[in-house]
């Protein structure tokens, strides 16, 4: 043995820690220093809103990028997380005093419009903030668990899984819209005001919520990084490429799939809850097929294999959407369409791929002169692993 594997591995993972952690620190700096200094509170709040989708995109990086499970129904979990939060806030906004003009004071306004006379049983627990916070994560994760159990144990995968999640998104949308007495219907749950008496609509509150959101996102990013670097992360990649081999290495593949799917669902739900807090309402238009596909697109634009890429991709697409639709109301769909096609055709690994291709080599040359020769002589990196 010429080289011990330990030293090699150490060298390698040290570089990776530097790279990824530095990236996260840079992102953190951007989110908590640069943007708050550079943007007014209105735009900052918008960025905050975009960042809530980044939670979904992070989940998709693990679920789709790592494990190859494409869910076209992440809106379901984003929505449920958002609804759980919204239910709490709505109940707080529906105190008997605030709703005394209703025929049944003390219940949310839309229930009153729908002739409900009492709060439905499943709303009751949402009087409690701690229950609601638990529910934000637990309900979507549980749903994902049930769906995952049913699908993955039966070895439903690939495109089939994608289409079925799409069907679930359709089902849930129709249910929410159809059960408007219990859910607020197509209007959603609107006019949310305070959180434990703290007015979430003020500029100050928005600033605070922005920072909470950014911190949570960085936290989730680190969590994802941990998962991805654990053995579990490697197993996910392995089962994406050679599911049978993993199975014949003694793993119950379905359990791993269920786990990432639930994990991604929980992440999405956190995003949904933060969305509700920052935007002040939740509606079924986040649950359906279109938003779910858009969320996949954020992830694709960022580079489906890259956690950081997902965040930047989300920011870029949403920022582009806002700016283009403000400046070119007639043309922005052309631009969005072209963006998606362009990313797929020209930059199949998204922003992360661009970074790997054009920026990282320069950085590496700058930082690691010693090993520079080795990098140059290395075999060309196949594109699909570039962002790993």
């Amino acid at each position: 043995m010429t080289r011990t594997p330990q030293s090699n591995l150490f060298g390698r993972s040290f570089w990776r820690i530097d790279g990824d952690i530095a990236g996260i620190l840079l992102l953190a700096a951007l989110l908590v220093i640069v943007l708050p200094l550079g943007l007014d509170i209105f735009r900052l709040n918008m960025v905050g809103k975009y960042l809530t989708y980044a939670f979904v995109a992070l989940g998709l990086v693990l679920c789709w990028g790592s494990a190859g499970i494409l869910s076209l129904g992440q809106g379901i979990f984003f929505g449920i997380g958002g609804y759980c939060m919204a239910m709490f806030l709505k109940l707080e906004a529906s105190s008997p005093e605030a709703t005394k003009i209703q025929s049944t004071p003390g219940i949310p306004d839309f229930m009153d419009w729908n002739q409900l006379k009492a709060l439905p049983w499943f709303w009751e627990p949402f009087h409690s903030l701690s229950f609601s916070i638990v529910a934000v994560v637990a309900v979507p994760a549980l749903l994902a668990f049930i769906v995952g159990l049913a699908m993955f144990k039966r070895r439903v995968g690939g495109v089939y899984f994608a289409i079925i999640t799409q069907a679930f998104a359709a089902i849930l949308t129709i249910l929410i819209v159809g059960q408007q007495g219990y859910t607020g219907g197509i209007n959603g749950i609107t006019d949310l005001r305070t959180l434990k008496g703290w007015d979430i609509r003020t500029d100050d509150a928005k600033l605070v919520l922005y920072f909470v959101n950014a911190a949570l996102l960085i936290g989730c990013l680190l969590l994802c990084l941990y998962v991805r670097r654990s053995k579990l992360g490697r197993i996910l990649v392995a089962l994406r490429d050679k599911e049978d081999r993993v199975r014949f290495s003694g793993y119950d593949v379905a359990n791993f799939k269920i786990f990432v799917f639930c994990f991604a669902a929980a992440l999405s739900a956190v995003g949904g809850a933060m969305f509700t807090l920052q935007v002040g309402f939740m509606s079924p238009s986040f649950v359906g097929i279109v938003p779910s596909i858009e969320m996949v697109i954020y992830c694709a634009v960022g580079g489906r294999l890259s956690l950081l890429g997902a965040v930047y991709g989300t920011l870029l697409v949403n920022w582009a959407k806002t700016m283009l639709s403000e400046s070119f109301p007639e043309l922005w769909l052309f631009a969005m369409g072209a963006l998606f096609i362009g990313v797929v055709m020209v930059f199949p690994n998204g922003l992360a791929g661009l970074y790997q291709q054009f920026i990282a080599p320069h950085l590496r040359r700058l930082t690691a002169r010693r090993s520079g020769g080795a990098a140059a002589g290395a075999p060309i990196i196949p594109p699909h692993t570039a962002a790993d």
Binding site: F42, N45, M46, K49, I101, S103, D109, F110, D112, W113, N114, Q115, I174, V177, G178, Q180, G185, I186, N187, G188, T190, D191, L192, R193, R201, V279, G280, F281, S283, S285, F286, T322, S325, E326, P329, E330, W332, L333
Partner: protein, 382 residues
């Protein structure tokens, strides 16, 4: 005539000595673009006409248009942008109730003024909104009374799209129907965009209602009426009353497929009065001879005018003063005849029933004698 800017604008709105900015916030993309296009056109026409007459308080109106993209959160985002970034003095916009619900908290928080043109379900009233369309009772009750008398209707089949406006409207309709000893023999809702109505048409054939009462919206209408016709239901024999089909929807449905149906609105393009003739001519001049004008389009046209009249009465663009001055504002030039803003920020208006013709227009067959009082929280109907 122009008052100094300091006097008319004490709240830092986007008002200069020569101009005042307003927002137009509708969907120009997505599924709702179909319906909202007419509203945008009407609002732009009104603004052009007002500018031609010298503007508001001596200031020309500048428009900032945003696309809500048929997406409620986008509406909220754009509303916030118009109010916070652009500081517009008024916003003309929204079509669906869902979009209005999404922007309402924004308007209340940042104290803006929204002129909302669509007939809607009521159960709402805000200092920051002027509702230039009908609330549910204004649209529904008189029409139901008319069919009951005219067609001796005893049984009704209610069919609508599955969301709050059709459901609430039908709830009110059902109460009214049952109050008068008549009967609802069926009530069905379909997801937005649904295109298969053969089953419900069979149910209609089974229950043989005297009146089909329809509040299907959007593209589903096309499917619904074409399938009704193909199933052999002749609307000249089977009474159908709709509260959701205007001249706009007729374009897509095709007059030949819906001719004979009754629509209950406050405005039809074919209304005969001098205001309307001028309005229709101006609209076609601006937007082309092919264009049609539906109920909501007309209501959208009222928005800028009502705002101008209010600002001139209040001698200010300040939102609070506009809100306070609104009740009692009369617009005699309204294409629908004459309208007046109620205390509750809705309009007094008439209910009219029209009968669809094959050319895509309506023949008015009935109108209420008086303006009907808006009553967004109708007692006994909730």
């Amino acid at each position: 005539q122009a008052l100094p800017t300091d006097a008319v604008n004490t709240t830092k709105l986007a008002v200069t000595d020569g101009t005042v900015k307003v927002g137009i916030l509708h969907s120009t993309t997505g599924t709702m673009a179909i319906s909202e296009t007419g509203s945008v056109q009407a609002e732009k026409l009104a603004i052009a006409q007002i500018n031609e007459m010298g503007g508001v308080l001596g200031r020309k109106i500048e428009v900032i248009q945003e696309d809500g993209a048929s997406d409620w959160p986008t509406f909220a985002e754009k509303a916030r942008k118009l109010l916070v970034e652009d500081k517009v003095a008024a916003v003309f916009g929204c079509w669906t109730s869902a979009s209005r619900k999404a922007v309402l908290p924004v308007f209340e928080q940042y104290n803006g003024m929204l002129y909302y043109p669509t007939f809607y379900e009521g159960l709402e009233q805000s200092k920051n909104v002027i509702y230039t369309g009908q609330e549910a009772t204004q649209q529904i009750l008189a029409g139901l009374d008319w069919v009951s008398n005219e067609k001796k209707a005893k049984t009704f089949f209610l069919i609508g799209s599955d969301y709050i406006w059709p459901r609430t409207s039908n709830k009110i309709a059902r109460k009214h129907i049952e109050m008068h000893g008549q009967k609802v023999v069926g009530e069905e809702y379909f997801p937005l965009g649904h295109t298969q109505f053969n089953s419900v048409i069979n149910k209609i054939k089974l229950t043989k209602p005297d009146v089909i009462y329809a509040s299907v919206v959007g593209g589903s209408n096309v499917a619904f009426y074409k399938q009704l016709k193909a199933a052999g239901i002749d609307l000249n024999k089977q009474t159908l009353m709709t509260i959701s089909v205007t001249e706009d929807e007729m374009l897509g449905i095709g007059g030949e497929n819906i001719a004979g149906a009754y629509a209950c609105m406050k405005y039809f393009q074919s209304l005969k009065n001098p205001n309307n003739e001028k309005f229709v001519a101006a609209f076609k001049k601006m937007w082309g001879g092919e264009s049609v004008i539906g109920d909501v389009t007309q209501a959208a046209y009222l928005g800028p005018w009502l705002w101008k009249l209010t600002a001139e009465k209040a001698k200010s663009f300040d939102i609070d003063k506009i809100a306070a001055a609104s009740p009692g504002i009369e617009f005699t030039g309204a294409p629908e005849g004459y309208v007046r803003i109620h205390e509750n920020h809705h309009l007094w208006s008439k209910t009219r029933v029209g009968r669809a013709r094959t050319d895509g227009q309506f023949d008015m067959v009935y109108e209420t004698a008086d303006l009907i009082e808006p009553n967004p929280f109708p007692k006994g109907y909730q």
